[in-house]
Amino acid sequence: MKKQIVEELNGMPGTHPLSSLLREDRMPHIWCPGCDIGTVFSSCLTAIHESKIDYNNFAMVSGIGCTGRAAGYIKLDSFHTTHGRAIPFATGLKIAKPKMKIIVFSGDGDLFTIGGNHFIHAARRNIDLTVICVNNFTYGMTGGQVASTTPFNSKTSTTPQGNFEKPFNLPYMAAAAGAVYVSRWTTLDVRRLTSSIVEAFNKKGFSFIEVISSCPTSFGRKNKLGSPLDIIQHFHKISVIKNGIHPKDANLDIDKEIVVGKFVDMEAPTFFDLLEKIYPPETEKGA
């Protein structure tokens, strides 16, 4: 099935609506059938398209993980860095290319477990980056170990009796650290997710979008969540939209309730605003 689609795509270049943003010569991708990363990735490509911003003005930076492979599939300047370090790499890139839109696209383990420190500091600096996190509650790539986002009691290959640690509330952390745009969606909310990404692109400052996603192969199987379709139906059943609530109340209980929505959308001086205030661009050169 997968092969056939690829052949069709190869046979008719340019026929897929997003093909000009895809490295079709890299298909088939590595993602498992039913994996939600593809949904988030295509939402992101659609958002790039819908934003009407010149494609050349975008670059994508990823860390390591299944999600991190996204940078290798997008046909833009793209960087696949080291585990946890996408944000600081993107920070340097953004400073060198302040007019470009830099998207950081990575997994929860990458952005928040190994890389959490960089996330809070980038949010604190309010540097213009759009960070999209595919939160599948686990380390998909290495076979489904516990992460700092794994729900309490969930089974992973390194918490065979259930996770005895508590997970982060990512929107709350992002907001507390200084992000000016924070939202959470599930992979069911494709349209809302897409327009949220467009909004984030247009936001001055640090924007963060968490996407509750499934990893049917590891997390889904270990926790007996059923087929990819079952998981999506479950998201449908238990997710509630609560725009504008304080992110500390954005409950995330994968058995009972997933609160989604846009929680933060505010104005605050960005890294570049403040930098220019102290060092106006007309500062005498070579003094």
Binding site: R23, D25, R26, N56, N57, A59, V61, I64, A71, G72, K75, L76, D77, S78, F79, H80, T81, T82, G84, R85, I87, P88, F89, A90, T91, G92, L93, K94, I95, A96, K97, K99, M100, N117, H118, H121, L275, I278, Y279, P281, T283, E284, K285, G286, A287
Partner: protein, 376 residues
């Protein structure tokens, strides 16, 4: 600052050389004895339209340097032992993505927190092999603020020419020493500009090398849509998980340096013509070695010195050549034997090698080196 004579600290000279080289981005994290480089860059970069950013740690500093360099800014970071250890993974990323940048290690005594304010030369092998996998690196050293200025310019140029992070392995004493430094006028400083392709996007492959095995780069945001990854990749920059592609990539990363050692390696010979004993020294140890050489000559010993500016790649050919001429080498270094092992390897049994070791925290007394010379 340019075209004038100054009385400045080594760390400051290093920062000034970076500015003169066109460095416009510095990401770092404070650490003794490298902090003064960061402080100087924080003051100077805004004056020349550059950006200094203090990152949350050295992992981030190194990653930001790579990002900024990809974005087209000449970039640098500076640290010491503990921070150098944290930078290793992303130095490896810089090697594999082939990102020009400069990393300064103002060495202090380790392991671990060690002696934060006192010197050592204990990270020379870490510079060579500290990141995982097999690769070639360029590392330079300096024995005075002036030399630190000069090698910093050289480091930026080599990093652009060969597309890799270049390491400057100086030490606390040189970093904190204040001496005369002549900063030449800018038209007298040779700058190697970034190699940018002339090909249009349709024809360009990010990792297709020129004849010298180095691939030209592109400007980001200019429609080339490059992909760069730390995974083993082909000429397109696309990951390929296979032994043949691994061989192609490693061959190129290794031979772009090995085939150009004559261009990269720099050293100075002092009184080696008639020498029977040669002191091989680098960094701060050059200075007591110079004194030891003079004392030995006074005693009628035919002693010379080979001063290494380039540490990696190692001055293999020179050592081999000298080995057939001399009785032996004396290698003073503030560690328990790192570069001395290279000297021993290259002399291949043709000459003896004596290590003069020091655990760190102080520099050599010339007499300690002289003693070894006399023993040979």
């Amino acid at each position: 600052m340019e075209g004038t004579e100054h009385f400045i600290m080594g760390d400051v000279a290093c920062a000034e050389a970076a500015i003169a080289s066109g460095c416009r981005f510095f990401a770092g994290y404070p650490i003794t004895p490298a902090t003064e480089i960061a402080e100087r860059m924080a003051k100077r970069l805004p004056q020349v339209g550059g950006v200094y950013i203090q990152m949350e740690d050295e992992l981030a500093s190194m990653a930001a340097v790579l990002g900024a360099s990809w974005g087209g800014l000449k970039s640098m970071t500076a640290t010491s032992g503990p921070g150098f250890s944290l930078m290793m993974e992303n130095i490896g990323l810089g090697i594999v993505m082939e990102v020009p940048c400069v990393v300064v290690n103002v060495q202090r005594a380790g392991p671990s927190t060690g002696l934060p304010t006192l010197c050592a030369q204990g990270d020379m092998m870490q510079a060579r092999w500290g990141s995982h996998g097999h690769y070639e690196i360029i590392a330079l050293s300096a024995s005075s603020p002036q030399e630190l200025f000069d090698v910093t310019i050289k480091a930026f140029n080599l990093s652009e020419k060969y597309r890799l992070p270049v390491l400057i392995m100086t030490d606390e004493v040189v970093g904190h020493m204040t001496e005369k430094v002549i900063i030449p006028p800018s038209n007298r400083i040779e700058i190697y500009p970034r190699r940018i392709t002339k090909l249009p996007p349709e024809e360009y492959l990010p990792y297709l090398p020129d004849e010298d095995m180095v691939a030209p780069m592109v400007g980001i945001g200019e429609g080339y849509h490059i992909h760069s990854t730390g995974l083993t990749h082909d000429k397109k920059g696309y990951p390929v998980i296979s032994a043949p592609v691994q061989k192609d990539m490693i061959d190129r990363l290794v031979y772009k340096i090995r085939n150009n050692v004559d261009d990269i390696v720099e050293y100075r010979e002092i009184e080696t013509a008639d020498a029977e004993i040669i002191i091989v020294a680098y960094g701060i140890s050059v200075r007591p070695a110079q004194k030891a050489l003079e004392l030995a000559r006074e005693k009628g010993i035919k002693c010379g010195m080979l001063r290494l500016t380039t540490i990696w790649p190692f001055a293999e050919k020179k050592i081999m050549e000298l080995a057939s001429q001399v009785k032996g080498f004396v290698v003073p270094e503030i560690n328990y034997g790192q570069i001395s092992l290279e000297v021993e390897r290259c002399s291949a049994g043709h000459a003896k090698t004596i290590l003069v070791s020091h655990a760190g925290g102080a520099i050599f007394n010339p007499n300690e080196i002289l003693e070894a010379v006399e023993k040979l």
